[in-house]
Amino acid sequence: MSKVLGLTGDGAVAYAVKQCNVDVVAAYPITPQTLIVEEFSEYVHNGEVHTEFVCVESEHSAMSACIGASLTGARVFTATASQGLALMHEMLYIASTLRCPIVMGVVNRTLSAPINIHCDHSDMMGSRDCGWIQVFVENAQEAYDWVIQAFRIAEDPDVLLPVAVNLDGFILSHSLEGVRVLDDEEAEKFVSTRKPVLTIDPDKPITVGAICFTDFYFETKRQHVDAMDNSPKTISKVNDEFAELTGRRYGFIDTYEMEDAEAAIICLGSTAGTAMAVAKSMRAKGKKVGVIKPWVYRPFPTEQIIKAVENLKALAVLDRACSVGAPYGPLCSDVIAALYREGIKLNLFNVIYGLGGRDIRPTDIEAIFNEALEVAKTGVIKEPLKFVGVRE
């Protein structure tokens, strides 16, 4: 029997990790992720988990320790944010190309300077090409649910890739919500234990991380791409099993009122919740708007997005990060690339919003929807890239 607990986003992540039979957690505290390791270390202290908790001196060491532990066949978790993720950057690539199925909670916070502890997606977007599976969640329930699924996805022998579960700093990490959790036994049965493929074993020595020059590096990277390309099969399988267990259905994207929408917003994370609420009230006034929320950002859900925009006339792509000097923000660039690849010409514009934790209000969202409806009607895009919520 499942029950509902009052948990913060970070608390939900820590609770999920507690139920997942994790062998090693190596982590370093950083706002707004600290609650995850703080709460988890309490579970360790109380003897509620058998996990080896490694207190490291930096995030670079945290990820290094995670890689080493993962290579021995252990189930491994860590969490970080912002500067911490940036400090891990080189180890992120090593974790993914060495095919270590580590699960990490990334509590999205902007990058300095100026120093700021609040939410945007600059941290993950700064490392988006690190070859990890990347998931973005809308609320604490989703954070809990995806962390549990992440272990299964990461450790599947057909995948063997690390998974980052992203949740918005403070907006989710520090807000209390009712989260429906599994019983310990149910969760344990779902995640089982890791069945490693190739591990470091003194009785059967292998070499990991050997130098690989011009003759083999490219082949190794090509395998990495292949693993990512194959991961959707596993992600779907795990989503199906999770739906069967909990009744909560996940996929690559979540959609709201997209069937007959003329204009829509696509965005990552908690903003999607606001957008759906605004869409609901605009629908009541007869405005045909919808929302697309990618849960899975890497591998990019090209197929699912294409299908969702089938009947759409205009799309506003919201980015909570900016790629300075690029024609569009990161999500928008991906959306355009996906549409282009399928030969779809859809009128869209990019909105950069919420940097450094700047609020995005329902009225902002409504204005964006109205602008998208205008584009749907006229076919004219006045501003292909605009900043919403910044003072002139």
């Binding site: 190309t97 060495l98 095919r99 063997l160 190739l198 020595p205 292998i206 070499t207 990991v208 991380g209 050997a210 690989c212 011009t214 003759d215 083999f216 590096y217 490219f218 082949e219 190794t220 090509r222 395998q223 292949d226 693993a227």
Partner: protein, 94 residues
């Protein structure tokens, strides 16, 4: 050259080497620009070169040492450390 080697579909994942000790097959001696040459007359058999060589390329013998040129990369550490100045780095002429 790279065409004759196996492709990404057949090699082990993640650049892992399944055969232990396979580094022996990699003769790094070809990287050498300077070759350490021992003057056995001057050598006092202190074996400091043997301790310091980062590549395990110094072979310890009864009273003196020999260099394994298959793996000696020519870094010159041995020559630098030798207290008897018994090692000279001679330019490789290939």
């Amino acid at each position: 050259m790279s065409e004759s080697k196996p492709g990404w579909k057949s090699i082990p994942i993640a650049g892992i080497l399944l055969e232990p000790g396979s580094a022996m097959k990699y003769k790094t001696g070809s990287w050498r620009a300077f070759r350490p040459v021992i003057d056995e007359e001057k050598c006092i058999g202190c074996f400091l070169c043997w301790i310091y060589c980062p590549d395990g390329a110094v072979i310890r013998e009864e009273k003196s040492v020999k260099i394994n040129y298959d793996y000696c990369k020519g870094c010159g550490i041995c020559a630098n450390e030798c207290p008897a100045k018994a090692i000279t780095m001679v330019e490789e002429k290939r």
